[in-house]
Amino acid sequence: MKNIYMDNYDVIVIGAGHAGCEAALASARMGSRTLIFSINLEAIAMMPCNPSIGGTGKGHLVREIDALGGEMGINIDKTFIQSRMLNTAKGPAVHSLRAQADKTKYHLEMKKTLEKQKNLDIIQGEVTDLIIEDKRVRGVVTRTNTKYGAKAVILATGTYLHGKIFIGDSNFSSGPNGLAASEILPENLIKHGMKFRRFKTGTPARALASTFDYSKMAKQEGDKKIIPFSFMNDYLEKKQINCWLTYTNDKTHRVIRNNFHRSALFGGEIEGIGPRYCPSIEDKVNRFADKKRHQLFVEPEGLDTEEMYIQGMSSSMPEDVQREFYHTIEGLENIKITRPAYAIEYDCIDPLELRPTLEYMGIKGLYCAGQFNGSSGYEEAASQGLIAGINASLSINGKKPFILDRSEAYIGVLIDDLVTKGTNEPYRIMTSRAEYRLVLRQDNADRRLTHRGYEVGLVSEDRYNKFLAKQENVKAEIDRLKKTMIKAEDAEDYLQSRGSHSLKGSVSLYDLLKRPEITYESMGKIDINRPEISSHEIDCVEVNIKYEGYIKKQIQQVAKFKRMETKRLSETMDYNSIEGLRLEAAQKLNKIRPVSIGQASRISGVSPADINVLLVYLEKMRRS
């Protein structure tokens, strides 16, 4: 029976969360005719958990998405209500930006961006099946049995598939935040050969702002000087809101302990695996019994709402227990809970079944992104969405795949970890997962990636020109600092004020800036005629000068790493037939199908000797 399509698209994206939005925008911006489905259009770019974007590692991801021409950075710059650069006491490689979002505005701005995007259509509807012919995806079917044809489909279904919410001893089918779960699609995906596993995550309660006692909590303000996420914004001025810090105590822990038996987590009903770095409060109290207190942050959900988010206190306890323990906390004694905390369980796949392009190995043209792949977090989802969108669009145009490696981007680390090592819990990025942390900084994300985004047609001329100008400015400023000499007597007062030792003769500002106690900003006192450059540019100048030696050393290591990444392995290789490979290695290689020798070397169970055998085999194939 021939399928009759309501319409035909290049790319169809299922789900309009953070992964889906980036995927759809990337594909449309690259010129592919794109359609995005959402169960409910009010759920576009919804933030069903914490009201913030960024943080360690995650902030790096947002910068990278932005550098490649994605939307997350721009959208959070439009809608944040507090901004902080974390880790400033440490070095520049781990400075991380985090912003509190106005959730509703974030959603509305993203929705508007999708609506205005050329080549992109939006439909509210539930996709219930994929149309697959000869192991290639041809389109999708909706709940109303309408069929849409597509050359590529991107699954970005978040926590909706077989979503199940747990609160105490009750559990029910549900997507996030009260939205309907998707029950039919996962059944059909199983029929198409996909294998699922269950992951779990959770979110804390929300309560009314007017019911907190702020005098008992510590105030947390935003940074005085705001550094924007997006490289497109040089400066941002905004009135910022406060967040609040308080702690659990003995009483809280007693209430929780007395009610362990009523928690869904310990009741044995939850089969899904939760993330270790995002434990529920009952998990914290249970696993870290000797810890006297746990900190929690009270954060506004937006400017047009009274609801506050209680970060650090996710739970699957019954509602009465939740109220009881929240009320034991200083500042929270009288809070009125508007939404109880819950745990949610959902279907996701084993990402080892994906290629580094995020294409599913079993079905051609089917790409997957976000929590569906076993990750966690808005930023991780958006990163994958972007890569899936780019690759879907490239592949239907017969172009080379777009893969970022571990030395180019945290996005590369994230995807390589997922598709090469797999994950046993919802995966979260961390700076310690990256081997080349000094190179993968948030200040140089554009330098690392904007030309790559430009090459695939995602970065606009506007952004590209801005990027080139910035590189020019940074270079010019570094050169100027090298040439500008300062005499000992002219620098003396300034150096004393910084606790820095005196000069002998004269020295370049460049060399002076290498001193740990000297900053570019403060050096303005003795550098009267400096040109005006943006905060992004200052960052780059400062880091490049201060950490030049270390960065150079790491760049050498990267060059070594790249050698193995550029030795390509063929898709169709039959590893069982290669003599000298150990059985375990051959099996793993057949399953994961690495695209390069470098990726192969990171598969657990593949030894250095196996890699040498592969190298010899490759050479043999090349010659014969």
Binding site: V94, R276, L438, G580, S604, A609, N612, V616, S624
Partner: protein, 455 residues
């Protein structure tokens, strides 16, 4: 640019010459650094040059012949240097070690051949053979590398590595969780913890230099009839050796094994006279068992009493000895002699005989000298895997030491934690490599099990 690799390319225990081969861009710089030609001429392409290998203090390690071969007309199609030295384990081990400290990396199993193939020096028909060679050699090396660490030392390495893991866990938590309620790592604390591991590493390095790192050593067996002086010899060697590592009582009660060290040569000394006051004579051991014990030994020292005449059993045993792997200690030469050197030579020609009087303790020096000479000349040798493992461990410990010294230096000038972490992590990885432990998510696992993190 590919790494420069080095390995021993002669089979062990076969004669007087050992060859160390280096391949890669750094071959020439490395040899220029460690080799001083006797005629002070510069090293020329494809010319044999005579001179000395010297360590960084300028001490001569061995006299050698070296040849430098410029690429591409070499086995690997890369710059290659070959050092021909004395065939004993000690010079080979020391020279290889020196080559590694100067920037080469120990070649992986079959790596020279692999490079030869990849660089087009071997033809296509040899591909399968190369792959087989790589996998076969890898298996062998793997087996050899494990279990060779002496127990106490592997404990020490584990301890140092554990301390480093703790540091890394604290660094990771501090870097990745700035907003958590966690104690901050102070530079003072960091430096003192790194210094503690650094001290341990230096001690470990010293023990490698004295050859104490491996469980196995050169196997020397002492045989002889009761009261000929075996125990004096054993005690003498034990007392002289400043590096007794462990007492490993034999699994059966008829031997005692001791790890000793003679001038840097690790030795496993077996005294067959474990129950020497009972009927444990060579005779009682039986000819067959003597044979077995000779086979297991790299060197046999037979002690004889020159004041007693040769008996039939002595003859039998003497006939069994392999001249190149045995020493006869003719004891009690201060007494009226019943046996002459010629008597023994009549039974076994070419055997090395050392007349001594054990009353004079200086005999131990003579014995040691003979042992060292035999080892240096390559007459007596041990399994190649052990030598390789020893060199590899030393190299990894040197890397650990270097990384830790760097980490301490930059901690003292308050460089950011994530920069210090790089050196700490590479030290941690080197120690892990010695132990053959896989490192993957071990630090993160530790982070999450120790700290309550996340929202």
């Amino acid at each position: 640019m590919e790494d420069t690799i080095a390995a021993i390319s002669t089979p062990f225990g076969e004669g007087g010459i050992g060859i160390i081969r280096i391949s890669g861009e750094k071959s020439l710089p490395i040899i220029s650094n460690i080799f001083s030609p006797v005629r002070k001429d510069p090293i020329k392409n494809r010319m044999m040059t005579y001179g000395h290998i010297c360590d960084k203090e300028g001490r001569i390690i061995d006299e050698v012949l070296t040849v430098y071969m410029k690429k591409p007309g070499t086995y690997t199609a890369e710059d290659v240097v070959e050092i021909n030295c004395h065939g004993g384990i000690v010079p080979i081990q020391r020279i290889l070690s020196l080559v590694l400290s100067n920037g080469a990396r120990l070649a992986e199993p079959g790596e020279f051949t692999k490079r030869a193939f990849l660089n087009g020096r071997l033809d296509l028909t040899q591909a399968e053979a190369v792959m087989d060679l790589i996998s076969a050699k890898a298996d062998k090396t793997f087996d050899a590398a494990l279990n060779q660490l002496e127990g106490m030392l592997s404990d020490k390495i584990k301890e140092a590595r554990k301390e480093l893991m703790d540091v890394l866990v604290d660094l990771t938590v501090n870097i990745d969780y700035p907003d958590e309620d966690i104690e901050e790592v102070t530079y003072q604390n960091l430096i003192s913890r790194l210094e503690s591991v650094h001290r341990k590493t230096e001690e470990l390095l010293k023990s490698v230099d004295t050859g104490r790192i491996l469980k196995d050593g050169l196997r020397i067996t002492i045989i002889g009839k009761p009261n000929v002086g075996k125990s004096s010899l054993m005690n003498g060697l034990l007392r002289e050796s400043r590096a007794i590592v462990t007492d490993i009582p034999g699994t059966t009660r008829d031997t005692i094994e001791e790890n000793i060290n003679i001038k840097g040569i690790p030795i496993l000394l077996t005294d067959t006279a474990g129950i020497r006051d009972t009927e444990d004579t060579v005779e009682a051991m039986g000819i067959q068992r003597s044979k077995d014990s000779f086979n297991k030994s790299d060197l046999v020292i037979m002690v004889m009493d020159s004041s007693r005449s040769i008996e039939e059993e002595d003859r039998e045993i003497l006939k069994l000895l392999e001249p190149s792997k045995a020493i006869i200690l003719l004891n009690k030469i201060d007494l009226k002699s019943q046996i002459t050197i010629d008597d023994i030579k009549e039974i076994k020609d070419n055997i090395r005989i050392l007349p001594v009087s054990m009353k004079d303790l200086s005999f131990i020096d003579k014995v040691e000298e003979v042992i060292v000479n035999m080892v240096y000349s390559g007459k007596v040798s041990q399994k190649d895997s052990i030598v390789i493992t020893n060199v590899r461990h030393k190299n990894l410990l040197e890397n650990t030491e270097k990384s830790l010294a760097d980490a301490i230096r930059i901690s003292k000038i308050y460089e950011p934690l994530e920069i210090i972490e790089i050196d700490v992590n590479s030290a941690y990885l080197s120690l892990g490599e010695i132990l053959g432990e896989e490192t993957g998510d071990d630090i993160l696992n530790e982070v999450f099990s120790r700290f309550c993190l996340g929202k």
